[in-house]
Symmetry: C2
Subunit: 512 residues, 2 copies
Amino acid sequence: MDESPRHRTGGREARRALRSHSHDVYLPFLTRTLAPFEVLNEEGLSIIERNADTILEEVGVEIRGDTDALRLFREAGADLTGERVRFPRGLCRSIVQATAPHEFVQYARNPERSVRIGGDATVLAPSYGTPFVRDLDNGRRYGTIEDFRNFVKLAYMSPHLQHSGGTVCEPVDVPVHKRHLDMVYAHMRFSDKPFMGSVTHPDRARDTVAMARILFGADYLEDHAVVTSLINANSPLVWDATMLGSARAYAEANQATIITPFILAGAMAPVTAAGVCAQTLAESLVGMAFTQLVRPGAPVILGSFASSISMQSGAPTFGTPEPALVLYAMASLARRLGVPFRSGGNLCASKVADAQAAYESAATFWPTIQAGVNFVLHAAGWLEGGLAIGYEKFILDADQCGMAAVFVKGIDLSENGQALDAIRENGPGHHFLGTAHTLANFETAFYRSEVADNNSFEQWLEGGSLDAAQRANRIWKRMLSEYEAPAIDPAIDEALLDFIARRKAVLPDSEV
Amino acid sequence: MDESPRHRTGGREARRALRSHSHDVYLPFLTRTLAPFEVLNEEGLSIIERNADTILEEVGVEIRGDTDALRLFREAGADLTGERVRFPRGLCRSIVQATAPHEFVQYARNPERSVRIGGDATVLAPSYGTPFVRDLDNGRRYGTIEDFRNFVKLAYMSPHLQHSGGTVCEPVDVPVHKRHLDMVYAHMRFSDKPFMGSVTHPDRARDTVAMARILFGADYLEDHAVVTSLINANSPLVWDATMLGSARAYAEANQATIITPFILAGAMAPVTAAGVCAQTLAESLVGMAFTQLVRPGAPVILGSFASSISMQSGAPTFGTPEPALVLYAMASLARRLGVPFRSGGNLCASKVADAQAAYESAATFWPTIQAGVNFVLHAAGWLEGGLAIGYEKFILDADQCGMAAVFVKGIDLSENGQALDAIRENGPGHHFLGTAHTLANFETAFYRSEVADNNSFEQWLEGGSLDAAQRANRIWKRMLSEYEAPAIDPAIDEALLDFIARRKAVLPDSEV
């Protein structure tokens, strides 16, 4: 079977360019070689699972405004009281385990950029959903479609991100009800990496699917996931019609969804990690089961977004130890369930790309990597609790992503890696700078950061005493100035633009 | 047996104050509840151990200028050719395993501050050995004895550091050959936490021991470790008379040493992680075996300081993925050997406390914590590859240390931790802010950072748009202004000052 996208229309050259690299799945995602770090043992994980079942059995969830979802759950064996749905123990788990894939490939229009999601793979995607953008020159301001395109371009150019993400920022200069078209188009046109679809209304999800059919060929979607989209629960224990409707639109088209309870502990869940985990598992089980009832086998990811709030001010906090524990536990629970897991990223509460931003980001990102998270949203750019995406932060985070890719490879135990001969030949008291082993390996021996300044104090002073954010500022500007769009079949491009124009013409005015 | 220090002279009140808390070991060090992260399996670790033995057998080490050490090794079964010492396979390991303690207590003059080193305990100590200091007001400058005292005071006041460290900075305004006396005195007088001794000359190590005998009582040292000191190998594969002489002085007095190959891969060892590990293990085995030959049972810690260099400029780099892998592997090797392990810290190459500093520090510190390192030097303040200690960086790092203490406790699975009743009572769609469970737990639910700004953008703007370093600047100044010295028996203080005066009077002029 030919795994590269098929198109209904022309562009022979573009097609050939695509097919010339048509091996099934290309490398760039991270492949973990190390066993994940565990914070709970078998007994602890069983307690959480049992509690999730208890929540689903005794408390249940509310399914708001979606009678079709209620019908599906009733037919599957759930107990309905109005919109309150309670589940016999194990029901959601068994629905998910019966048909949800352990892992899947999200195909990109450039087959080399297709990614495997699940198992030992980790895919890194930019920050998502921020109304504001920030850069050192202009400070903080509302995002625009130009900013959106810029971040798509930067993610496309970054060797450290494998995914284009979704709402990398809100383009507030485009009307709310039309912007999903411009956003999806930007991912399709200015990048060839995999991307996410709109979820703010079921119609917008269907528009995303329609555009994906133009880009990949309508039949292609039937057995290829080409869009992965973010479906958030309305925690605690509520699923609403917007999110379920969008999830349905994607699942019907056999496209992937990330079912994510968004939880700030103390507000949307209890303050304790074990409580957050049980509730997250309960909520996500319902959403995942829903996708499988809509279309058995549709790719679905267990998502967990969990942080804390300041119990003094109520403000969200990031990078504290409690969410790291939740992340590790949820990763284990997803593995036991047998589905891909999404969590983590480079999260912070800091307003600027300073030391707070970096410590907090790392305190989420290290657990993200060592838990073996499969899909990592917010891997680059996140600031201010998700209210802003920063150009400089994006560059700094992407550098950390590059390091993670080296880390997960573990220690090379080949003969060259053991380097015993080098030590034998070198002997006591002589440095290794000029040895044959060093010369043979120096190009690839160490991760080479583009952002870090390792020069002497004096050199750094001469260079203008730039801090990390100032250096990152130069890097993103250089990248954008060097950006070249990936080739696209002109007929497909035209068809996409035509679709967008027609949809914009008929979409009613709306500010929602 | 009374475990609190005994003094030869007066100070009944001070003695009573000490003894009123005379439980054996008090809390404040971190106690790991989670299994360490592993980067090598049994087979991989065996390969490294075998290679270390091969290095010791075939290449050996040079013991420079210490005939007594050569004699000890020869008598133990090593093979000598001049100063080159080769070891039959397993010899050093068996010497270490025969008598070195798996863990030990380093006693502080305030018994509540005594720490356990080894096993599941983690002890955090400030940065060590920097000639320069930096703060936001005065920039970078040579350290002074006032800076030294300031960092001792800050470490004393920090709830997140359990150890006062050693050469927190070089007090360059005191002559080289006399400054060890002022440094050791500062730790003894301005803190009551455990501390490190001088290692720059065997005589200075003996001065440290003499001062410890005044502080704790001479007999007390015979069966209580009260000083832990840093002994660095001269990598690759050289041990020199200064370091061995200092190690001997401490081991003879039954005091603890940290035997640490200091390795920048590519310079002092091969570029590969497996090569660095084998060489580190070989070098540290020799140093540890030496302490056990000097005095069987003397507390000794396997140390590993490993980072990389830029293969472009030769400059040391920090926070890259390769040293993290080395750290994890070395921690496993120390566990297999059965000795406490020292490594890690908040290391960085950055000149200032910016995002680079924080990312790099976290990229060492998270592995430090998740590897279960027992003694962590450089946990707070390190900048510029160890050339400077920063006041602001110190505060920022200490905050991360506080978070680590929460993280290592793992997830609370008590009934209160599971919070099932809270979820039951709360039901779908209602926030948890005012629930009984939240109110009962909110004081302790989440780690509360003193440095992080979690306010809204607008509040942050109103507060002056301070970055993390600027906020840290206010914190260390406030701390120093509030500092109060811990009580000390005036007779002991007088005896210490008298000893220092007498030593300074007879010490020959020296700039080494």
